[in-house]
Symmetry: C2
């Protein structure tokens, strides 16, 4: 009992310190908000009304510095997330950012928008990716968030096509972890003879399917939602999809998180009227075209190699426009204002039949 009283004193003391810290935090967060207001005021005086207060390169610099200086015990991701929210709240004081996303509410694209801008962003659901581009072009939304890679919704290539005709630039990237589940109207794994899903999802769960459903046929369909719909009707069928699909089509989840890579991520791009200034750790996305795929590609990429620029992604698409046979979407490491990148781009522009910088933007921090 004496011991408990002693411990109680210890608890009271630590809790007293927490209360004092909270007061200091409140004061500092409030002062930070006032500073953000002051920044907005100065910028408005200089640039007039149309000024954009959001500076992606400064935000990521702050997040990177905080992660780097973090003494623990919280981990760097967690601390960066807290600062993302503090910055989001301060920025929203002037005028909340509006971000268009591919609806409906609750999609991965909305989650990506919130992860990128923090919870003080106003997210606006659009029915199509075209609409997202239009809203941002018209200035009704400050930014748009579009899926671009590894998505299971069958919309990715469409995003890339839209960039060809759009004046918009890429101002950021977001990555999200995605999980896949096996679901069916059957209640036993042993009853599954066919597994439906989007091709990408099937590929992402290959090892699990090889191991637990080696004899089941895999059938690629247009989307994971389509797969779930089929699984609901067909005896012996299962689908690989998200929880939502299981609920909608009243399927039983037979196995959770069956993706081979636990870090399976989907990438999204943030689009806006202009790209981002240098942050020190950037990517640049390019749109290139040549007439002949086989021979042309080598020539096209030569300037990058010559200037020691690394590519993180290349994707070829048959052109819809008929002038070129193929267009390439290429992501490289570095900002277009970095000297070696600038030199490589100048070289590329001379060589390529179509050359467009879609934007330079900070590598995702969170």
């Amino acid at each position: 009992m004496a011991n408990n009283t002693h411990e109680q004193d210890g608890l009271d003391q630590v809790r007293g310190r927490i209360d004092a810290i909270d007061q200091e935090l409140l004061d500092l967060i409030s002062e930070r908000a006032r500073c953000a207001q002051r920044v907005a005021q100065i910028k408005t005086e200089v640039d007039g009304r149309a000024v954009q207060f959001y500076r992606p390169e400064r935000e990521v610099s702050i997040l990177r510095r905080v992660k780097g200086a973090n003494p623990g015990p919280l981990d760097g991701e967690e601390v960066a997330r807290l600062f993302r929210e503090i910055m989001s709240a301060c920025l929203a004081l002037e005028r909340p950012l509006q971000a268009a996303f591919l609806g409906p509410e609750g999609t991965f694209t909305q989650a990506a928008a919130i992860k990128h801008f923090g919870h003080s962003v106003v997210t606006r659901a659009m029915a199509t990716i075209d609409e997202i581009f239009r809203e941002v072009e018209a200035g009704s939304c400050d930014f748009g968030v579009v899926p671009v890679e590894n998505s299971t919704e069958g919309v990715v290539s469409h995003t890339l096509d839209l960039f060809m005709a759009s004046p918009l630039a890429i101002t950021g990237e977001v990555t999200l972890r995605i999980h896949h589940h096996l679901m069916s109207a059957e209640t036993e794994l042993g009853a599954i003879r066919t597994v439906y899903s989007h091709q990408q999802s099937l590929a992402q769960c290959r090892e699990w399917l090889d191991r637990y459903l080696p004899h089941a046929e895999r059938v690629a369909v247009g989307s994971n939602a389509d797969a779930a719909r089929t699984a609901a009707k067909e005896p012996g069928a299962a689908a690989v999809a998200g929880y939502q699909a299981a609920e909608i089509y009243d399927l039983e989840v037979l196995a959770e998180r069956i993706e081979d890579e636990p870090g399976n991520t989907t990438r999204f791009l943030v689009i806006g009227k202009q790209d981002a200034p240098r942050s020190g750790e950037d990517k640049t996305s390019l749109l290139l075209a040549c007439r002949n795929k086989a021979g042309g590609l080598h020539a096209l990429l030569m300037p990058l190699a010559a200037h020691g620029i690394s590519m993180t992604r290349i994707e070829s698409r048959p052109s819809r426009r008929g002038i070129w046979d193929y267009v390439f979407f290429v992501d490289i490491i570095g900002h277009r204002d970095d000297l070696p990148v600038a030199a490589a781009l100048e070289h590329l522009e001379r060589e390529a039949q179509l050359f467009k910088v879609l934007g330079s933007y900070p590598v995702a921090v969170l």
Copy 2:
């Protein structure tokens, strides 16, 4: 230009101050996390391994104090939300809280769990409300979050029934804003002859429907998802539901946010092994029963009136158990440890044929 340079100096100065503030914030948040670890360590020494580090009454006290002391310019809600996230991160250092919710991922119930516990909580999707109760009773999850009021998913009464047989207590409440939209396969409002939805949703949009669709018949169905499914098949039909339903059933949203009360909220309860200590601003939920509804109710509520206790909600349900004709779920203002409440409860217990305190818990802050 000279002026711009002057302004640039001003900007640099404010940004320098922001950077210094961020460093201080980082240090304070880290120290707060260390304090939380110290609290956990002391508690574990005293109480052994099974100790619960989450103290709902202390969390809400901190949030209320922060809101009260907030000097601006951020509004109180925003500041409380930031502190919720900081506390959530600190608490998760020991062991992340696990909260069971009514799945699938992306439901309102999951949103409620995250709103209540912050983003560092681990949310676990359950297929049914029964399962949520079971997981918490078994100790596999620390807490559960269940819908209880004004829900359009047809599950609310089931939640109340489960409390009758469960040893679990209510440890908190959460409220969420909910929006309704009118959707149809038709593309013109003029073509709508029937509007389907859950009865509660129809009621919540009555004024809008009276005004814009005065001649359309309103038909109550089991859930908003059912309504959307019907609207997809039937010419001239529309549904009142959330965005998700429009997407799933490929309906056009003809009008957004048609609920009469812009502040339309749904309430959720947090359940756990024990209820919450006093926070100074609490509610208590009771389960009462009597044999005869009409005469019994007056007698049942008399002790509350006699002790000056306010009710915020009363709901009668026919009893499934056959011993009583009716059971009442009653929410009152105050904690069961508050003197007038304690006196009223003692009185009630003598009068009622069934008397059960489901829990005392802090009034929702956010």
